[in-house]
């Protein structure tokens, strides 16, 4: 399945910890210059996959290649081509930012002659210029995350693997780091993991949704949303009669094209519903239904199903239905 431009390929990747399957039979590829978002709830196997791609762990079975080298056969070659930021940016807190980056650059094989220039370039890019002398232990979480990014990129690797690069940052920092990643993504191949959806929409051109160690969906954010239909948000005044809310939910769900309706909120006699539906606009039908049933309509609006809904469908709802089946 490896296409010519694929820089990362994984096939049949499986990792078991004792009884637990962290990932099962993962197969995917990442093409050159792509920013791939690895999306999934906690414990879905994102981190495990990244650890395998960086040769920190070996898969129980299956194989992966990075930059044309097998992760198990030639780990040193793989590592030379990769910059890796593990979750929570673990750094040597007793060193200053400059000392730390010098150490990393040295071990990364950046020659002494270029070291200074490369460190300067990356620290400017990451906004660390004024913190070079600070001990890492004194830095805030946001700055540590930047140092983590800087260490992953100081040797200018063609491939970057970033495990939750924006976790623990404040909203302003998140925007900055996202811009940084987009900037980097122009020249390099990036895999980043996250459970933060806006992040994927902001910085990735392809998404891989994983759940319970399996790939649940893959595509560009636009592809994933395409043809998924709309959400309708309806708020009605039902007068507080017993069972009225249940009846309304059923009636809404029975509309043609509706896949399901759920009650989302109740405030006195006001009840809100969310209706998922594909096909033509249902707003007129909902209005007529309300007139027919004598409901007072307080609000009606519609919104295209977004990545967040898809993610929820693929993870939470899929889990629920497997539980029911079992």
């Amino acid at each position: 399945m490896a296409s010519e431009k694929a820089v990362i390929t994984a096939s049949g990747l499986t990792k078991t910890y004792g009884e637990i399957n962290a990932i099962q039979n993962l197969a995917f590829e990442v093409r050159k210059g792509e920013v791939l978002g690895f999306l999934g709830p906690n414990g879905a196997g994102k981190t495990t996959t990244m650890k395998i791609l960086t040769c920190f762990l070996a898969p129980t079975s299956g194989s992966a290649t990075v930059a044309g080298h097998d992760v198990f056969e030639s780990p040193l070659e793989v590592r030379k081509n990769v910059g890796y930021l593990p979750e929570n940016a673990p750094l040597y807190t007793d060193m200053s930012v400059l000392e730390y980056l010098e150490f990393i650059a040295e071990v990364r094989g950046v020659g002494a002659a270029q070291r200074h220039a490369k460190i300067k370039r990356i620290t400017d890019l990451c906004g660390l210029g004024d913190r070079l002398g600070s001990e890492i232990r004194t830095l805030s979480k946001g700055y540590r995350q930047r140092v983590g990014l800087a260490q992953a990129m100081v040797h200018e690797p063609p491939i970057l693997i970033l495990d939750e690069p924006t976790s623990g940052l404040d909203p302003n920092q998140i925007v900055e780091i996202r811009e940084l990643i987009r900037e980097i993504g122009r020249e390099r191949t990036v895999i980043l993991s996250t459970h933060n959806l806006p992040e994927v929409q902001a910085s990735c051109n392809r998404v891989l949704i994983v759940n319970r160690g399996k790939i649940a969906a893959t595509g560009t954010p636009e592809e994933l949303q395409e043809g998924k239909g709309h959400n309708y948000f309806v708020t009605l005044d039902l007068g507080g009669a017993d069972g009225a809310a249940k009846g309304a939910e059923a009636a809404l769900g029975a509309l043609e094209g509706a896949s399901r309706a759920v009650e989302t909120e109740r405030e006195g006699t006001h009840v809100s519903f969310r209706l998922e539906a594909k096909g033509p606009d249902l707003r007129g039908r909902i209005f007529k239904l309300a007139v027919e049933k004598g409901w007072t309509m307080l609000e009606l609006r519609t919104q295209a199903i977004n990545l967040e809904d898809i993610f929820r469908q693929l993870t939470v709802d899929a889990d629920r239905s497997t539980k029911k089946a079992a």
């Binding site: 920190f56 070996a58 890796y84 673990p90 007793d94 060193m95 071990v107 990364r108």
Partner: protein
Amino acid sequence: MNMGSNTLAIAKREFRGYFNSPVAYVVICGVLLLVGFLFFFFRPFFVVGKASCRELFTFIGMTFLFFAPAVTMRLLAEERKTGTLEILITMPVRDAEVILGKFLAAVGLLCVMLLLTLPFPITIAQLGDLDMGPVLGGYAGLLLEGSAFLALGMLASSLTEHQIVAFFLALLMGLVFFMLDWALPYLPGGMTSVVEYLSFGYHFEGITRGVIDSRDVVYFLSVIAVALALSFRQLESRKWK
């Protein structure tokens, strides 16, 4: 990329790390105070009636029991706990370079500590005629024995992510090797020579007398090699399927 430069870079960082934290100062001061106390309390140079450093070397050798676990406990355990190990070994370095670099840093600290004990033999030399041969031999022996203790500490640190556990594990292993020859009188005849051969004391004894026997050197180097190889296996075990 050659093997040596990575090892040295790691060793350098680790060695500097000792002095960036209170570890080096506290441990070295502790050792010097303890040796100084034993030295002036027992005043071995008067009991024997002639200038000799043998007892001094025995004292210093005893402090290794604590010195080695204290300086090695964090080497791998801390990195595993904080996750920094993940960045370190996903760089283009071999696992062996990680182990070797860290071990060298600990040996470097041992050298600093040994240098700081020099005032003791100098004091003794003031009191009488001191034969320099056994003194040099004694220091060579201390370096070897100390390195063997450090290698055991490294192994302990590779087995756990808790520094305290690593400390006591290293102390325990050190004690076993250290006290083996105390058990000799209680052992059946056939076993004594084997157990004697395995004990640190037996080999160290020869060296402090000023005789550097290649068998003793080989013994300490083997202990170091085996302990480091086991640490390497332990570090690598994360990749076992």
